[in-house]
């Protein structure tokens, strides 16, 4: 009997091609929207996580002030001193590299080419902490670090803009007021977690930046790489205790510095994208509901329009359940068809949009399955009422219906 109903339902769908198409349009769009949103959203989450892990895992960033940037009112807390860096390196257990950072910006000039970029003063520990290997050349020697020599290491973006195809190692160019010699080139890293170009950078020994550009010994940021064998939390605690002591913060006074765990950024950001994905998915789910109501609407019209047909079937000897099943199966078949078409469109759309939005395409079986089951459920829910109505028709009245 069930086989019969399916045959009948598909015959009816085939007979009314245009109407069937219009009926499922809502479901198609709804499913396509949900699946596309969630697929792209998951891709974005994965991308963010990957980019943040590319920042280097298990890195603590120590800055003066509280939270991001420097605190609002009141006297500004002092920057760190080189002695703080040494103290961290010598007194905190579980630290593999401690890289002080002093930042400046300036224009690099060479043979008519010029390029505005970020200048980061640091030490060779930076490359260990960041797990950022060299593409060519070498990192700073300790002699260069001690003397504050005018040597620099280029990010790939700066290299391309200043040197084109030439080999930059050993070449010289002007940056701000000094001439510096290129000793190395970093490997390409691409976009950072915040959409910034990580390769648009010139690295110099920190002393060089402090003396030539800043004129102070201040250190704005200290990057601390934690030994994977140690727990980040405990390292963070002893680091905090040391800095409180060195900065003379006693008792219940709040820290005038903050220690930021890159893992935290990762969690926060991927949490944000997940919430966004859920929100977009929810909005799309509403359109799926609207699609379901569309099915009910058209099925009701269809029942009225096919009253005579129902009368014929009843006269021929269809029992109420069979008529009901026919319309229900018809609604479910339409909804499922809509679901499948929607999923196909969603996959095509995701594949097309992923490179445009620069997120990886990740096929999520779960969401596709869920969308399909959901559209089938919509077929059942919104097909039930019209189907029941069809089944309850009186055969004599139905046959007379014009």
């Amino acid at each position: 009997m069930f086989g019969t109903t399916i045959i009948l339902a598909f015959r009816a769908i085939r007979r009314h091609m245009l109407r069937s198409f219009l009926t499922i349009l809502g479901i198609v769009i709804g499913v396509a929207a949900v699946v596309t949103m969630v697929t792209l959203g998951n891709g974005a989450t994965a991308a963010v996580q990957e980019q943040i892990s590319s920042l280097g895992s298990n890195i603590l960033q120590v800055r003066p002030g509280q939270g991001f940037g420097r605190g609002g009112g009141g006297p500004q807390p002092p920057d760190f001193k080189p002695e703080d860096v040494d103290a961290i390196r010598n007194q905190v257990a579980g630290v593999t590299a401690v890289a002080p950072m002093a930042q400046s910006t300036g224009t690099a000039v060479r043979e008519g080419a010029n390029w505005s970029t970020t200048i980061n003063g640091t030490t060779s520990d930076y490359f260990i902490a960041q797990q950022w290997p060299m593409a060519a050349g070498r990192t700073f020697s300790s002699a260069e670090e001690q003397a504050g020599k005018a040597v620099c290491i280029l990010g790939n973006t700066v290299r391309t803009n200043l040197f084109r195809q030439e080999d930059p190692i050993g070449q010289r160019f002007r940056i701000k007021d000094i001439t510096c010699t290129v000793i190395g080139v970093l490997q390409t890293r691409g976009q950072g977690g915040f959409g910034n170009d990580q390769d648009d950078v010139v690295l110099m020994p920190i002393k060089t930046v402090q003396r030539r550009f800043a004129g102070t010994r201040d250190i704005r940021v200290i990057m601390v790489a934690v030994d994977p064998a140690y727990e980040t939390g405990s390292v963070q605690e002893s680091l905090s205790a040391l800095l409180r002591e060195r900065r003379g913060i006693i008792g219940g006074k709040e820290d005038d510095f903050n220690i930021f765990d890159t893992k935290q950024i990762a969690d926060t950001l991927s949490g944000t994208t997940q919430i966004l994905t859920a929100l977009l998915g929810a909005v799309a789910a509403v359109s799926l509901l609207v699609g379901g109501i569309g099915i009910m609407n058209i099925m009701l019209v269809s029942v009225t329009e096919r009253t005579r047909e129902i009368g014929i079937r009843l006269a021929i000897g269809a029992v109420a359940r069979e008529v009901m099943m026919q319309f229900l199966v018809e609604a479910v078949a339409l909804a499922c068809l809509g679901g499948v078409i929607g999923i196909v469109i969603a996959l095509a759309a995701s594949l097309a949009l992923a490179p445009v939005l620069r997120v990886p395409f990740s096929f999520d079986v779960q969401i596709n399955l869920l969308a399909f089951v959901f559209s089938a459920a919509i077929g059942v829910i919104f097909g039930y009422f019209p189907a029941r109505r069809a089944a309850s028709l009186n055969p004599i009245d139905a046959l007379r219906h014009e």
Partner: protein, 239 residues
């Protein structure tokens, strides 16, 4: 039930539509016996109760009071679905307006009752094609009702009605929408199927068509006015 007991028996059947002061009594106590294999024409003016009687005989409706026995079974005691199953098994219907499924091929239309009987595909095709052959439309099996003339549509409808080899064929003004030549073709077909043993019950307004029947039942004001027996044609068939 004995072999020559009437296949259909109506006993003091009444039917009232509506209730209270607006109630209308369509049947006022109909008694009627129809023998198996008979060809019955039901005649009478509009509102005489003949359509109501046909609906009850076709198990589409139930009497308000009285008894309707089909093969000895009290149909008035059956529920909706049981009557549907009775129709499926023993009845074929032909309507004035043909009532074929639109945009559906002649073959699929004829197959429909077989589908509800759960026949498998191969057998369905075969039996439906045979039925179409019997009404002379074998070559038109893949045409939809829209592509067929009125006479052809009614022949498809007859094929659909007889495809299950029913005991009773109910025809409600089967020639009402057709010209004389087509009408005669239809009557010839009905006579042919009657000759194979199918009891035919037909409502008609036209005496020319009623002349094909062996028994003519006249209705008036909700009652059977008189029953005429013709023997001009039935003699060839027997009894």
């Amino acid at each position: 039930m004995t072999a020559d007991a009437p296949i259909i028996q109506l006993r003091n059947v009444t039917k009232t539509f509506g209730s209270g002061p607006a109630a209308f009594q369509a049947l006022k106590g109909v008694d009627l016996d129809i023998a198996a294999g008979d060809f019955v024409a039901v005649m009478g003016p509009s509102g005489s109760g003949k359509s109501t009687t046909m609906n009850i005989l076709g198990c589409l409706d139930v009497p308000t009071s009285g008894a309707f026995l089909f093969k000895g079974v009290h149909v008035e005691r059956l529920d909706r679905d049981q009557r549907a199953l009775l129709r499926r098994k023993y009845f074929g219907f032909v309507f004035q307006g043909f009532n074929l499924l639109p945009r559906t091929s002649a073959l699929e239309n004829v197959e429909l009752p077989l589908l509800y009987r759960g026949e498998e595909k191969h057998k369905r095709r075969e039996v439906a094609m045979q039925a179409l052959d019997k009404v002379g439309l074998k070559d038109w099996w893949d045409h939809t009702p829209g592509e067929l003339s009125g006479g052809q549509q009614q022949r498809v409808a007859i094929a659909r009605a007889i495809v299950t080899q029913p005991d009773v064929l109910l025809a409600d003004e089967p020639t009402g929408n057709l010209d004389t030549a087509r009408s005669l073709e239809i009557m010839e077909l009905l006579s042919e199927f009657n000759a194979t043993g199918i009891t035919v019950l037909m409502v008609t307004h036209e005496p020319d068509m009623a002349a094909y029947a062996r028994t003519v039942v006249h209705f008036r004001d909700g009652l059977v006015e008189r029953v005429d027996q013709h023997h001009h044609q039935g003699q060839a068939v027997g009894s």
